[in-house]
């Protein structure tokens, strides 16, 4: 008993020591130790007052409401989140996405990438399942999906540069590729949990193999598939921001240019728009998903979709 405890302590201690040892080495390798952070802190504080122009340390209460105006004037001037002159019906000006200005482009990148990646994700996801493809072959598709996921979206963007330069189009292709790996894998995992019963039932009706797969398997997973697709859409909008930074356009590009201009106020204004965009997409996707789980009829979903702008406005204003 005594010995047991001692071994336990020893192992816990050893574990902590090993993690700390690696942590120490990692800090050294990544130069955080050598970087004398406190010394740059004044520079960072300087930048902070640029980031937050409403902070005014010279006078109590340290807040200058005019500072918010600086954000807003940049957001408005550059149509970051709303473009009053957008023509909703003319796709050559961006159609409905143009209504959201630059944020609309980022949103469009995430959306187009998701839809573009969807068919292949579905195909690979289904073929990766052992019940559809016999053993060694399904691992072919799983392997492809794993490899795709191992390559970050940004790297895919670089790979596609020869195809379309570096712009929104390349970003969409990169997002679509990433979607095939990530969404496909989620689909495969979901299919593994499908129940055998309905599949056998379809077989006994004399259905053909494709019919058995569609009615027996896929019908069981439509709801989770839609939910996962929305989840990946959420992630893809985030990726669209990131790809923008290296030249893909949209909010990311504005951000990176303002950063290079050392215009931290504008940079923070752009970040605020990014936060609003991503949290809106997240809220939208989470609402739809929780409705799906609650097993709503399609009519209910439609109401939800149509009612979204109103609710969004409400929740932002309150």
């Amino acid at each position: 008993m005594r010995r047991g405890r001692r071994i336990r302590w020893l192992l816990t201690g050893l574990g902590i020591t090993v993690v700390l040892f690696f942590f120490y080495n990692a800090l050294y390798t990544t130069e955080l130790f050598q970087a004398d952070l406190p010394r740059y802190f004044p520079a960072f504080l300087d930048a902070l007052t640029d980031y937050f122009p409403f902070l005014d340390f010279s006078a109590f209460p340290f807040v200058d409401p005019g500072g918010f105006g600086q954000y807003w004037s940049f957001i408005q001037e550059r149509n970051l989140i709303y473009n009053s002159s957008a023509d909703l019906t003319d796709p050559s000006t961006g159609g409905p996405f143009a209504l959201f200005g630059v944020a609309g482009l980022t949103l469009a990148m995430g959306f187009a990438g998701t839809i573009l990646g969807f068919p292949l994700a579905l195909l690979f996801g289904i073929l990766g399942s052992e019940r559809v493809m016999p053993f060694p072959f399904n691992f072919l598709f799983r392997g492809v999906m794993s490899s795709i996921r191992a390559i970050p979206a940004l790297v895919w963007a670089l790979i596609y540069v020869p195809l379309g330069g570096l712009g929104p189009a390349t970003a969409v292709l990169a997002i679509a590729t990433d979607t095939v790996g990530n969404l496909g894998r989620l689909y495969t995992d979901e299919l593994e949990e499908v129940e055998d019963g309905p599949i056998e039932a379809m077989r006994t009706t004399g259905a053909s193999r494709p019919q058995t797969i569609v009615f027996g398997m896929l019908s069981q997973v439509t709801t989770p598939f839609i939910a996962w697709t929305l989840y990946i859409f959420e992630i893809n909008v985030r990726i669209a921001v990131t790809l923008g930074i290296i030249g893909g356009g949209g909010l990311g590009l504005i951000l990176s240019v303002q950063q290079k201009l050392f215009n931290f106020t504008n940079m923070m204004a752009t970040i605020l728009v990014i936060i609003v965009l991503i949290i809106s997409v997240e809220m939208f996707s989470q609402r739809v998903r929780s409705r799906l789980r609650a097993d709503e009829s399609p009519e209910g979903l439609l109401t939800l979709l149509l009612g979204f702008p109103r609710r969004m406005a409400e929740s932002l204003t309150k």
């Binding site: 039932a201 569609v214 009615f215």
Partner: protein
């Protein structure tokens, strides 16, 4: 209407012998009940009969042709009903016609009008016409089981198999489902084999009885031969309490339940 011959069927799963040299034959139009305790091989027998499982030895013939794979002329009803929760009762019933419809047409629900009427008709048979547009998942267990029966009927089979179709239902629903099953078999001239573990239900609805114990056929006979001794033979010395279930008031008009 078809006849079924089970000819020396043995089924082994690794070391477990689920069926041991079982032979019997069912003439056209008979309503057969398969009885046995849990693990006696009821499910295995029915799965062999419709080709979901193939026997290790022996074979099963329907109208003389051996059963190798699931066939459209043999319909099956499952204990867990195995209907598709996402879809409406009507769409579920309609899947019974898959073997007569192409992939694309079935995907778009563009089946022939005839099939659609057949589905509604089948839902009518099981008393669910009014609920036909309801999502299957939102229905009660008994209703779901009846949707499963409707699907089997739409398939227009010659043979109807059912593996403990009432095991997960309350006494009231059990009676109802069994009644629909027997009625459908009678109206449509189906040969039927249904496994059950409630002896009273078996006695109430069965015509002919097959008793399994440890994978062996221990009884094969008709209502008049199905005595208390036979029940002991099938169930061994175990307490049979619980295998009899309370009958509902509503079926007081039907034949008395022996307890």
């Amino acid at each position: 209407m078809s006849n079924i011959t089970v000819d020396g069927v043995t089924k082994e799963f690794g070391d477990t012998v689920a069926l041991r040299d079982v032979s019997f034959s069912v003439p056209e139009g008979e309503f057969v009940i398969v009885l046995g305790v849990s693990g006696s091989g009821k499910s295995t027998l029915l799965r062999c009969m419709n080709g979901l499982t193939s026997p290790t030895r022996g074979e099963i013939r329907v109208d003389g042709t051996p059963v190798k794979d699931p066939r459209k002329d043999i319909a099956m009803i499952f204990q867990q009903h195995n209907i598709i929760g996402q879809m409406s009762a009507y769409s579920n019933a309609l899947t019974g016609s898959l073997s007569r419809t192409g992939l694309l047409k079935s995907l778009l629900q563009l089946q022939d009008t005839e099939e659609k009427y057949r589905s509604l008709d089948a839902l009518d048979t099981v008393g669910l016409l009014d609920e036909s547009r309801q999502r299957a998942r939102q229905m009660s267990g008994g209703q779901q089981q009846r949707v499963g029966i409707a699907r089997a009927l739409v398939q227009r089979p010659n043979i109807l198999l059912a593996d403990e179709p009432v095991a997960s239902l309350d006494p009231g629903s059990s009676q109802q489902v069994m009644r629909y099953l027997r009625q459908a078999a009678k109206e449509r001239d189906l040969t039927a084999a249904i496994s059950l573990h409630q002896v009273n239900l078996a006695r109430k609805f069965g015509e002919r009885f097959i008793g399994l114990r440890n994978g062996e056929l221990v009884f094969d006979g008709y209502r008049d031969e199905f005595s208390m001794d036979v029940i002991d033979e099938i169930y061994g010395d175990i307490d049979t309490e619980g295998m009899f279930e309370a009958s509902d008031d509503e079926n007081a008009d039907e034949q008395a339940v022996t307890k």
